[in-house]
Assembly symmetry: C2
Homo-oligomer: 244 residues x 2
């Protein structure tokens, strides 16, 4: 607080730089979730100008006393309050700073993305609150440059999938290998051979066999697995690359 007052006075006495302090910062969040079939991204209807009524990414101006990360965290919590976001994966993407990207004035947007476990409650809530879980491959036209931000997020997610076990943040704690494979195929836009996929996953030795099965809609029951986070932590300390 003290520091803020101090800096405010300081700026007032520095005529040479005063004109730079007239930009706004906003944060946008690309929230990825997986419904068992498809990867999805949460978008919402704007209810004010500019672009009133258009779809957009959940976004928020940065207040003077909030760091970017704190702002992103608050944005996430107010957008999907029902979801456990504490252990979700979140990361900054990039600053998007085209001069006229926002007609209100100079707004530099800092994009974030995160990966959450979607709950049924979230899906119901979403529709009530003017939000939509849009399919990864069918994102409509969005306000501002938000389509560009999503494209960037998709690329980043793809890279992360190849090197880090982020996929598990999208699945329920207990999952089947088929779910895992569908997820990877969706994220990397590529088909895998079932036997080779499983071989690779088992070789990583990061799955715990739960000795439990779950009924699928049709066909045999599936075995359930869990991701061994502790083991991964230990391995990743010495620069370990995950799959693919």
């Amino acid at each position: 607080m003290q520091a803020h007052i101090y800096t405010y006075r300081y700026i007032m006495t520095r005529e040479d730089i005063k004109d730079y302090f007239n930009v706004a910062i906003s944060v946008s969040m690309v929230i990825f979730a997986f419904d068992g079939e498809k990867l999805r991204i949460l978008i919402q209807r704007r209810d004010e100008d500019p672009f009133n009524g258009a779809w957009q990414l959940p976004s928020r101006f940065v207040r003077p006393n909030e760091s970017l990360e704190l702002n992103a965290k608050m944005l996430l919590e107010e957008t999907i309050p029902m979801t456990e976001t504490i252990d979700s994966y979140s990361e900054q993407l990039n600053a998007f700073g085209k001069v006229y990207r926002n007609p209100l004035g100079r707004v530099v947007n800092v994009g974030f993305y995160c990966i959450v476990k979607m709950t049924d409650e979230d899906r119901r809530m979403a529709e009530q609150k003017g939000m939509m879980w849009a399919a990864y491959t069918e994102i409509p036209d969005l306000a501002f440059d938000h389509n560009e931000i999503i494209d960037y997020a998709k690329q980043r997610l793809k890279r992360r999938f190849k090197r880090r076990p982020v996929g598990f943040s999208l699945l329920p704690k207990e999952f089947t290998l088929t779910q895992l494979q569908i997820l990877y195929e969706g994220a990397l836009n590529k088909k895998f051979d079932k036997r080779n996929f499983r071989k690779k996953v088992f070789n990583s030795a990061l799955l715990i066999d739960l000795d439990k099965t779950i009924e699928t809609s049709y066909g045999k029951v599936s075995k359930l697995y869990r991701f061994d986070e502790d083991k991964y932590e230990k391995m990743s300390l010495k620069g370990y690359d995950f799959l693919f």
Copy 2:
């Protein structure tokens, strides 16, 4: 221009958001170069408060009519005017937005890094202008959070080295395989077996044998190679991963 006047008046009438437009954006640039032995990063002495006299990354406030990328480009050109920066590799790192990172007020810094071919002229110029090419592994304490930005840039460079042939942007157009290996060893902080290194490089089939040699200070003459950019362009279109 028209748009700028429009947005200015618009903001004036929106009391609810006016308070957000009081942040400054700065751009910092981590400039990597290679002197044949070591990777180096360009730093400069500050000549004004705050942190007067301290080392910092080349930095610049963003003016209202400049995009982040344009600003970064101008920063690079005014910092090392003698270097050909047109074909150098440049990329945004991240936005650094801690609340009190700059005592002047709320300044969000957008970090960039770039990779240039160092010329002898640059090295001489640098010292005259209060700049220093600091060794990659021995960066002194810098103003603001610039050490943090450099750490981030080093990580990013390491990742890029593994997947993209960015190394060639650091070497002269014609280089020896020993130079290439020293560079990779420095960037990845890892030793390679000479025969295996060469095997891998040749397998990529992206080097053109120039049928020329160059005298080294001691020992046999070395063969010179050039990087085949056209061929790489074609290969990278279909998601090609470089070496290591």
